[in-house]
């Protein structure tokens, strides 16, 4: 299309010839219109700078000759560069030529210069066709004419109109930028939401897997052995009953039965006497509660009744249940041992400690108990020891953090008793933690009954609470400070 004859075949030749003719037409027009620039010279006297008009006329004639010659000899379509040069020349021609006249009469000289410049537009039309560069050239010609004739008005108009155009363009750019930004943000948000949803999903899957594993493990480790044992015809024993009870508790926790989540329910619902066991005093009072107190022995180790009464109704009155358990209802006479109780309806120390073990085991504490109890210390001492033990274990739950194992060691008889509670949890620094603070009340109560409590702790290495009764003669006992917190002793 650039006008190389040799490269075109016969049908292309027609096109090229037509282009050449159009180019020559512009050339004719340029040559013909050149004569107009001579006209201002005839009003030589009325011009402000006649020599400028002279110069313009000469330049215009020369340019027209050059242009026409190029248009005539050009091959194919009118050259864009030629047209551009022509436009630039015309702009200069109008700008310079208008200076020849006095400011108020510029229109006169421009009337003659316009025909010459109009040809330039025609050249743009032929060479450029429809397009931005063509439009810019035409606008440049128009602006040049306007500037030449009315410079003040044009400047004012131009700057204002340019303002409109600029605002339009700038707004368009800003809007485009903001839209791109919002799009990117929305995309990023979307991505984040998808990733988050995926993470939540993965988390849920992991949690569900974990729960399944826990359930699997609980069933495998705690329920199945009990069921297997019974299925194999194993002898029901107090240990089996205890394991079965804990298994049921664990199963309830797995299926989220609220009864499995509240340890108290187990005691209340299974053996009526457990409820008093949670109070620190642990003394079954006279009357009905005394009956339930001994009934609580049913579920406990080394106590009467439950050894043989797998089928006995839970919650039946204590002594009665013990009687039926030993006497009737079981095909073979199962191992049932009636241990000696304290005086009358008193609860044995071993039963009290077993209840403590059960309570805390059911609460999820990994308790490793050793109960070697040969006799019964006096009742107030038993109560004080049990309360202090509860407090020590409660402190483990509250303060030790995640503990692997807590050992509860109880050994002794009627005239001496040793209780050691040992955990390997967080521990504390004895230098910074003040004993007491409302918690050491039951420790002091034991001291009042002639016992002694030693708490040794090191940060990070757990706590060891040694409770002994009576207080050993050697070694300094804790300084008695009854005046410091008399309220706690009550």
């Amino acid at each position: 299309m650039t006008g190389l004859v040799g490269s075109a075949g016969p049908p292309r030749a027609v096109v090229i010839r037509t282009e050449q003719r159009m180019a020559r037409m512009v050339g004719y027009a340029r040559a013909a219109c050149a004569s107009f620039v001579l006209i201002p010279l005839f009003g030589w006297a009325g011009l402000r700078h006649p020599w400028i008009a002279m110069l313009v006329a000469v330049a215009a004639l020369a340019e027209a000759a050059w242009f026409s010659w190029r248009a005539w000899h050009g091959v194919g379509r009118l050259s864009r560069r030629l047209v551009l040069a022509d436009v630039l020349f015309c702009v200069a021609l109008m700008g310079v030529g208008s200076r020849a006249a006095v400011p108020d009469e510029r229109n006169r000289i421009m009337t003659e210069l316009v025909p010459f410049s109009l040809v330039s537009s025609a050249g743009v039309g032929f060479a450029m066709g429809l397009g931005i560069s063509g439009a810019i050239m035409v606008v440049a010609l128009m602006a040049a004419w306007s500037l030449a004739v009315l410079p003040d008005v044009t400047l004012k108009l131009g700057s204002d109109l340019l303002g409109f155009a600029l605002w339009y363009v700038v707004a368009m750019l800003i809007a485009g930028e903001l839209r791109r930004l919002s799009k990117a943000t929305a995309h990023a948000q979307n991505e984040t939401e998808v990733a988050w949803a995926r993470a939540v999903e993965q988390e849920r899957e992991a949690e569900s897997l974990r729960q399944r594993e826990i359930a699997h493990r609980e069933i495998h480790d705690y329920l199945l052995p009990v069921v297997d044992h019974v299925a194999a015809g194993g002898a029901p024993s107090t240990a089996l009953v205890r394991e079965a009870r804990r298994g049921a508790q664990r199963a309830r926790r797995i299926i989220m039965d609220p009864r499995g989540l509240d340890p108290r329910f187990l005691h209340d619902g299974h053996a009526q006497g457990r409820a008093p066991g949670r109070a620190d005093g642990y003394v079954p009072g006279p009357g009905p509660s005394s009956g339930s107190g001994s009934g609580s022995g049913d579920g406990r180790r080394a106590d009467t009744g439950y050894g043989g009464s797998l089928s006995s109704t839970p919650g039946s009155p204590g002594p009665g249940a013990a009687a039926t358990g030993t006497g009737a209802g079981v095909p073979v006479s199962l191992p049932v041992q009636v241990t000696t109780r304290g005086e009358g309806d008193e609860v044995t120390f071993e039963a009290m400690m077993s209840a403590v073990v059960d309570t805390f085991t059911d609460e999820g504490l990994a308790l490793v108990p050793f109960l070697g109890i040969e006799g019964e210390p006096p009742e107030p001492v038993r109560e004080a020891l049990v309360a202090a033990t509860r407090e020590a274990l409660r402190n483990v739950i509250r303060h030790a953090g995640q503990v692997d194992e807590v050992s509860l060691f109880v050994e002794g008889g009627a005239d001496a008793m040793l209780v050691v509670v040992r955990d390997r949890g967080l521990g504390f620094d004895p230098a910074t933690v003040r004993p007491g603070g409302g918690l050491a009340g039951s420790y002091r109560a034991l001291e009042r009954h002639g016992g002694r409590v030693d708490v040794s702790a090191r940060p990070g290495l757990g706590v060891k609470v040694i409770m002994c009764w009576p207080a050993p003669p050697d070694g300094p006992s804790r300084p008695d400070e009854p005046s410091e917190a008399p309220g706690e002793l009550a």
Binding site: E213, D221, G372, R422
Partner: protein, 278 residues
Amino acid sequence: MTLPRPSGRGAGTTGRPVSVAIVEDHPITTESLAARFAGAGFSVLAPAPRLEDLDPAAAPDVVVCDLHLPGLSGAAAVAELHGRGLLVLATSGVATPDEVLDAIAARAHGFVDKAAPSHQFVPAVTAVAAGSYHVSTRLAGFLLEDSLRRPLSRNEIDNTERNLLRGLAQGDLLDELCAERDLSAPAAHHHLDRIFDAARRRRRLHRPSPREAEVMVLIGCRGLTYREAAREMNIRESVVADYLRTARTKYLASHPDAAPSIPPSTAAALWARELGFG
């Protein structure tokens, strides 16, 4: 808890890693244990869900053996492993004191509660691999209670050993007790050796002899009369009664929860079933 013994199997002395086999039918426990052992630098054999799955040719330094397995299980499994010349560390989440003590009698070198965190297994395996013993808090309680309840007439553990068990049952570690009581590692090992030996003899003393077991099965499980049992065993009826009485005495000694008035045939039935004779 490591007690290197001069005559140990040498896992610690030759410098090669301790090799451990895990016989356990619960994959979750196996996996977490194996990971912990591998993290401690042990070489862990392929897990065996049953004793029968353990490669008979394998010779790990220590076998961690669950006491409730499908197939051969409990003390019998421990005895089988000991018969192969392997050191056994027993573990269980639910074993009764009797089951644990039976495992010790079958020459397990220690017991760790399965509920114990897996990092407790590492020192236990290390101790057993070195030919020594691992006494967890719970095992110490079982051994102490056993020794208090069923004293031996001779070669009973002395007060030092009993106090050692007390300390362990109170949650102290052997290292701590050794430091506290100025006990050297070989001395501690000697005490543990005596404790385990006493536990084994104590247990054997309260096990039915083969003849007693036979009587228990015939009368307790198959429901024969004394006369029929006597004919079956080619002995006199009164001897059958003697065997059964002895069995009952042993049963009562090893089952403190049992009623002292239990008839001999009932005791025989319960015990035979418990021991898996029937």
